[in-house]
């Protein structure tokens, strides 16, 4: 099995790009929700890679993991949004750098 066949490689490139975009987004954006969306983007890029690998190896394990990742992402969204909302209620602000009571 070779990772470097053209079709596989192009899918992986997209996946890697998405992951990089997500990472950069996480680091540069300050809006809590956008940062969270970027993390979701990273997760989804992994999903793409997983599906590709699953196809490549012709076995379902990777695709199975994708479903679980989607579930986890949904659950994370629930928890994350709840946290963001409670912050917004208290501060009317979701800039991630404005929550810094704790430091040093």
């Amino acid at each position: 099995m070779d990772l470097l066949t053209p079709t596989i490689l192009s899918y992986l490139t997209v996946s890697l790009l998405m992951f990089a975009i997500g990472t950069i987004g996480v680091m540069t954006r300050r809006n809590g929700i956008v940062v969270f969306m970027c993390i979701e983007l990273m997760l989804n890029s992994v999903n793409l890679a997983l599906v590709t690998f699953s196809h490549m190896w012709d076995n379902p394990a990777g695709s199975m993991l994708v479903f679980f990742v989607m579930c986890v992402a949904a659950a994370e969204a629930v928890v994350g949004l709840a946290i963001v909302i409670s912050i917004f209620r208290n501060k009317q602000d979701i800039d991630i750098n404005h929550v810094n009571i704790f430091k040093w």
Binding site: V26, M27, V35, N97, I101, F102, K103, W104
Partner: protein
Amino acid sequence: MEALLPLVILLPLLGSALVGLGGFLAPGFRKNESLVGLIATAMVAIPFFIIAAAFFQFDGTPIQISLFSWMQAGDLNISFSYEIDQLSLLMGMIVTGVGSLIHIYSIGYMHGDGGYYKFFGYLNLFIFAMNNLIFGDNFVVMFLGWEGVGLCSYLLIGFWYKDMPKAIAAQKAFIANRIGDFAMIIAMIMVFNLIGSLNFSDLNAAVADGSLGDNAMWISLLIFIAATGKSAQIPLFVWLPDAMAGPTPVSALIHAATMVTSGIYLVARLNPVFSASPEVMTIIVIVAALTAVVAALIAIAQNDIKKVLAYSTVSQLGFMFMALGAGAYTAAIFHVMTHAFFKACLFLGSGSVIHAMEHMHTVEDPQDIRTMGGLRKYMPATSTTFWISTLAISGIIPLAGFFSKDEILTSLFLFDESAFSIYKIVWFVATLTAVLTAVYMTRLTMLTFEGKERFPDTKHPHESPASMTIPLWILAALAVVGGFLGLPYLIGHGEFHLLNHWLEPVITNNPAIEENASFGKEIFLILLSTLLAIGAVFFTRNLYRKHGLAADAKVKKAFGGLFRVMEGKFFLDELYNAILIKPFMSIGNRALSWFDNNIVDGAVNGSGTVVANIGESFRKLQSGLISNYLLIITTGVVAMLGYLIFG
């Protein structure tokens, strides 16, 4: 008999738990001083009698006692096992014997103190730890005791912790000991790595069959460094004088008779390792000689009765290490024993004096010998026993100190045959120190007990109660007869050196000493040290009898510029402050300021130096900003992957 031996270890622990926890939980028990004292004393006295019985029934084969297996990791098996042999029995007798006396003494001395039960709880715990140190047959049990005595010492020095200097003295002792402990840990790691076992017997066997090679040197050096902490040698001895902040019985028990000699005990226990590394022996003998003479010089210029005794202890420990350095291990143990007798007696005597001075309320500092004088009239028992011990430590024939000290001096002199060698210099320094010892001890005793009273209130000083004077008499008696256990080689060619015969199976002394011995040299050495000691005592006595306190000025003049250095304790505390503590603190502060907002802010605004800039960037590590955290994580990931792929 053997069935009783575990009690030696367990009873003090039980006593500590009973007294400490009982007092803590039951206020009624706490107030019952006599019961507390009785239990605590019994828990040390019973082990003493057991050890004594074992001592006299001992048939020459070491007894192994294993309480339980502590941990087993692969090929390493460490158990709470103890070895009863000649050396540990002797040390055990000293520790529990002197310990019992000091317990009895403390019953009177600590009377009325709010922490009475706590004091005895700690004291029993100390005996437990010390017994572990002595009887343990492997490094781990020994180290447990080693740390334990350190902890008890810390607790007892800081016993009156509400007084800030005393709490600080306790910390100083703790830190100095930790430095030594670190060396001990490294030594243990080395030993385990080299021979795969932490048993003393295995280590000694490994030296014997030569499998240790050069490593013996490193191990012995590390153990010696550890010993400089616990046994107060240069450069770590500074904690011992400060440790006098603890109650006086503690000074007598821990900081004179037992704990501080544990370094010497350990070296003697591992004597094959040390004998196999002559370089380290030379280091030991030099360090010890320096310690002895420096401490003796400082002692001359001190006016606090306990400080004089503390420096004297440091100096005498130097003597013991000199003996070790010459390979005369038996002489060192001999001196440990005699020193335990007379120094405990001196400390307890000083406690008795302080007790009396405290009752007068008119004296500002109850420990200052300048405000004493003429106490013999009021405290005959204390003064007589104090005099006996002073003469013993000064090396007056035929008291205990004479024999042990003479043996050390002889060993140093006979170490080699050349007329001018390191050991000859050390011998000279040691002889000089012996003279100084006689001088400062006589001065101390003269100023305390003789001459006119220098305190206004002549009604109040009174002798201490019997519970305090009886231990004094017993110790003084031991200080008189203790020396006969080791009559010099001269008499019957070592036939009557009982201690030597007793310890022969476990200790191999440097054979060169015996080979180099000749009748003429020995007679010369004995006469020399006898004459010097008697001369020094008489000279000092006459000086102080004639001039009283004013004699100090004459002494000061005699020493000239050196006296200021002696008074300032060779400025070692200041030196350490300047070269170690201050830089450390300032570096520490600077490093810490990286993490500390306020300090860095000040520094940045003020100077903008490189240091502050680095500090600023460090501070950002934990800025509280999520973005920064994310950035740091990503940087970490990138760095890690970069190394993994390209590194």
